[in-house]
Amino acid sequence: MIEPPAGSAEVEPRISALLAERTAALARRGTKGTDSVSRTPFLVCLSGADRYGLPLTAVAQVVPARACTPVPGAPPEFLGLIALSGRVVSVLSLAGALGRPMPPGAVDSTGHILVLRGGIASLALAVDRVLAVEDVDGALVADAQHLGGLGADAVSGYAPGAGQEAALEGGDAGFVVIDLPRLLRRYLPQS
C-alpha cells in the first residue's frame, strides 16, 4: 500500500526493493491459491523457538495476552483463568502442554492467547505470538505422524513452510501440526 510519492526522486533503493519484493510475493500467491486443490488452513503460532500449527477451525478467537488468575493446585503448565466476554476461560501454556520448556514469568503483554472453539469447557492456549494463517496440503499433514520425542504424541505431523511466510517472518518456514484433542486430552474431563 505504500506508494512512493510521484515525482519524488529521493526514493530510497531499499524501499524500492521492498516494494518490488512485495509485488512479486503477491503475484506468486495468486497463482498458488488458484492451483491448490485440497488445502487445510492452519493458524501458525510461535512458542519459544518452535512454530506450531493449529487447525484454524479449532480456534475461536485471538486476544492479546493479559494477566491470568492462578489456580491453586494446578500443574505448572496450567497458567490460570481469565475472564473473556463474560466467560471464564482456562489458559494453558502451549509449550508446557507439549512438555517443552516454558518461558519464564508466565504470559507477558507481548504474547497472544488463542481461545479454542467448542469443547466441553472453555480453554485457551497461551503462545508467544500468533504468526499467520497458512493453507497446507492435508495429505502432507497426515503423513507426518508419531515422530517421537517428549510430548510428541500430540504432534500429528509436520508441514513444510511456504516461501512467502518464511520471508515475512524471517524464521523456519515449516511448522509442527498439533493434534489438539490429543493434546488436551489430559486436561479435559473424561466423558
Partner: protein
C-alpha cells in the same frame, strides 16, 4: 767577705768623713778655748787697769783739792763756804777712792780663785796684796789729810803748813803703791799672753796629729778598696781578654754574692751564650754557604726559566692577538644576534596577538559547540517523540494483526461464504505485518539516530572540552610566548651587555698587550738581574767561606 763593693767604699768614706768631722769639732773647740781664755784675760786685765786708772785720777784729784784748800787757807780772804765745799768734795772723792780700792782687792781675790792657770792666780794674789798695802797707805793719807783739812777749816795756817810735808810723803808712798800694783798687772798680762800661746801650741800639735791619723786611715781604706775591688776586676779583665782572643772554653770560678760575683756569673752566662752563638754562627755560616750555593743554582735555574718565560710571553702575545680578533668577531656576531633577537621579539609579539585571536576563536567555537549540543539535545527529544509515535503505530499494527487473524478465523468459520473475506483478512494481516516490519525498521533507524545523537552529544562535549583544552593551551602558549618575548628581550639586553663587555674586553686586551710588553721588558731585566744575582751568589759563597774561617777562630 760578702759585703758589696759599694758598701765597702761607702764604709771607707764614712770612716774618713767621721774622723775629719771629729777633727773639725776638736779644732773648733780648741779655737773657742783660746778665744775664751783671751777674752777672759783681756776683760779681767782691762777691768783692773781701768780701776787702777780711776784710782790714780782720784788720788790726783785729792791732791789738787787738798792743795786748793791749802791755798784758800793761806789766802785768808776766802769765804768759809768755799773751803767747806772743797772739803766736802775732797771727802766724797776720798770715799769713792777707798771704795775703788776695796773693789780692786775683792776683784783680785775673786780672780785669784777662778784663774785658769796657777801663774795667773799667783799674780792676782800678789796684786791683791799690793792693793791691800796701797789701801793701808791711803787710809794713813786720808787720816793725815783729815787733820790738815780740819786745820784749814779752822784756818790754822801753821797747822796746815806743818802737816804739808808729811802729807806729800804719804801721797808719794800711795802713788808708789799704785805703780807697784800696775807692774803686777803688767806681769799678769804677760802671763795671760803666755797662757794663750801655750793653748795655741797644744792645739796645733793635736790637730797635726789627727790630720796625720786621717791620712793614714784614708790610705788603709784605699788599700782595702783596692784589694777588694781592683784585684778581682783584674781577674775578670784577664778573663775578658781571653774571651776576646777567642777562648770560650773557660769559666770564672768565683760565685760570691757581691758585684764581682754577679759580674762573674753574668760573664759566665755571656760566655756560654757566646759559645752557643758561635756554634749557631758556625752552623748558620755552614747553612749560609750551602744556601749561597743553592741560590747560585736557583739563579741559574731562574735564568733558564726567564728564557722560557720570555718565550711564553711571546706565545701569549700571539694568543692575545688571536683573542682580539675573535673578540671582534664575537662583537659582530653578537650585534647580528641582537638584530635577530629583536626581530624575534617582534615576531613573538605578533604571535602573541595571533594566540590571543586564537583564544577568542576557541571561545566562539566553544559557544557554537554548546549551541550545537543544545540543538542536538532538542533533536534527541524530538526523536524520542518520534519513538513514541512509532510505538503507537506498532501498537496499532499489532492490533490490526490480531484483528486480521480474528477476521481470518471468522472467515474460516463462515466457510465458503467467508472465503473472500478471508482474502481481505489475509490482505489486512499482510498490511499489518508490513506496517510492523516498517515500524521495526523505523525503530532500528531511530535507535541508530539516537546512537548518532548520543555520539554527537559526546563528540560535542568532547569538542567543548577540547576547545577548553585548546583555550588553556593557547593561554599557556600566550604565557610561553610572553616569557619567550621577555627572554628574548633579556637576551637582547644580555647580548648588548656582551657587546659592551666585548668592547671592554678589547680595551682590556689592549692593556694586556701593553702589560705583556712590560712583562717582556721586565723579563729581560729579570735576565740581567738573574745574572747579577748569580755573580752576587758567587760573592756570597766566598763571603760564607770567609765567615767559616772567622767562625773557626772561636774555640768552644
Amino acid at each position: 767577705m760578702s759585703i758589696s763593693i759599694g758598701k765597702r767604699i761607702l764604709l771607707g768614706f764614712v770612716t774618713v768623713t767621721l774622723v775629719m768631722v771629729g777633727l773639725g769639732v776638736y779644732a773648733l773647740g780648741q779655737i773657742g778655748a783660746v778665744r775664751d781664755n783671751t777674752t777672759m784675760i783681756v776683760t779681767r786685765d782691762l777691768t783692773i787697769a781701768r780701776k787702777l786708772d780711776d784710782l790714780g785720777n782720784k788720788s790726783r784729784d785729792l791732791g789738787n783739792l787738798r792743795r786748793n784748800g791749802v791755798v784758800a787757807a793761806l789766802m785768808r780772804n776766802r769765804p768759809d763756804a768755799e773751803i767747806a765745799a772743797i772739803i766736802d768734795i775732797w771727802r766724797r772723792v776720798a770715799s769713792e777712792s777707798e771704795a775703788i780700792l776695796v773693789d780692786i782687792i775683792r776683784t783680785a781675790d775673786g780672780y785669784s780663785a777662778t784663774a785658769p792657770s796657777p801663774e795667773r792666780a799667783a799674780i792676782w794674789k800678789r796684786l791683791g796684796e799690793s792693793a791691800t798695802s796701797g789701801a793701808a797707805d791711803f787710809r794713813k793719807l786720808r787720816t793725815a789729810s783729815d787733820v790738815q783739812l780740819a786745820a784749814i777749816s779752822a784756818k790754822d795756817v801753821d797747822g796746815v803748813e806743818a802737816r804739808n810735808d808729811d802729807l806729800n810723803r804719804l801721797q808719794d808712798e800711795f802713788l808708789r803703791d799704785l805703780d807697784r800694783t800696775r807692774d803686777v798687772l803688767d806681769q799678769g798680762i804677760d802671763a795671760g799672753q803666755r797662757r794663750s800661746t801655750d793653748i795655741y801650741e797644744r792645739s796645733l800639735l793635736s790637730i797635726v796629729l789627727i790630720v796625720g791619723l786621717c791620712v793614714l786611715l784614708s790610705m788603709i781604706v784605699t788599700s782595702l778598696i783596692r784589694r777588694g775591688v781592683v784585684k778581682p776586676l783584674e781577674e775578670v779583665m784577664a778573663f775578658a781578654e781571653q774571651v776576646g782572643s777567642g777562648d770560650l772554653t773557660r769559666t770564672l770560678p768565683r760565685t760570691g754574692g757581691d758585684e764581682i760575683g754577679r759580674l762573674a756569673a753574668t760573664l759566665n752566662a755571656m760566655v756560654s751564650g757566646l759559645a752557643d752563638l758561635a756554634r749557631t754562627n758556625r752552623a748558620a755560616t755552614a747553612d749560609l754557604n750551602a744556601a749561597a750555593a743553592e741560590i747560585r743554582a736557583s739563579a741559574q735555574e731562574q735564568a733558564a726559566s726567564v728564557e722560557e718565560q720570555f718565550a711564553a710571553v711571546q706565545e701569549t702575545a700571539a694568543t692575545v692577538d688571536e683573542i682580539t680578533h675573535s673578540g671582534a668577531q664575537i662583537g659582530k656576531r653578537a650585534s647580528e644576534v641582537i638584530a635577530t633577537a629583536q626581530s624575534t621579539a617582534q615576531i613573538s609579539r605578533a604571535g602573541l596577538r595571533a594566540v590571543a585571536d586564537t583564544a577568542k576563536a576557541m571561545d566562539s567555537i566553544r559557544e557554537q559547540a554548546e549551541a550545537v549540543a543544545g540543538n542536538i539535545v532538542s533533536l534527541s527529544e524530538k526523536t524520542q517523540a518520534i519513538g513514541e509515535i512509532i510505538t503507537t503505530v506498532n501498537d496499532i499494527s499489532e492490533r490490526t494483526h490480531l484483528l486480521a487473524l480474528n477476521a481470518a478465523i471468522e472467515a474460516a468459520a463462515a466457510g465458503e461464504s467467508g472465503r473472500s473475506f478471508a482474502v481481505v483478512a489475509s490482505e489486512m494481516k499482510l498490511l499489518a505485518d508490513q506496517a510492523k516490519a516498517a515500524t521495526a525498521q523505523v525503530r532500528t533507524i531511530l535507535s541508530e539516530i539516537q546512537r548518532g545523537i548520543n555520539t554527537s552529544v559526546m563528540l560535542t562535549e568532547e569538542a567543548v572540552k577540547r576547545t577548553g583544552t585548546g583555550k588553556a593551551r593557547s593561554d599557556t602558549t600566550q604565557r610561553t610566548i610572553e616569557e619567550i618575548t621577555a627572554k628574548v628581550e633579556e637576551s637582547v639586553q644580555t647580548f648588548q651587555q656582551i657587546v659592551a663587555s666585548t668592547n671592554q674586553q678589547q680595551l682590556g686586551i689592549e692593556q694586556v698587550m701593553g702589560a705583556l710588553q712590560n712583562i717582556r721588558q721586565a723579563s729581560q731585566q729579570t735576565a740581567a738581574g738573574t745574572r747579577e744575582v748569580e755573580a752576587a751568589s758567587a760573592n756570597l759563597t766566598e763571603l760564607a767561606q770567609a765567615l767559616l774561617t772567622l767562625a773557626d777562630r772561636y774555640r768552644h
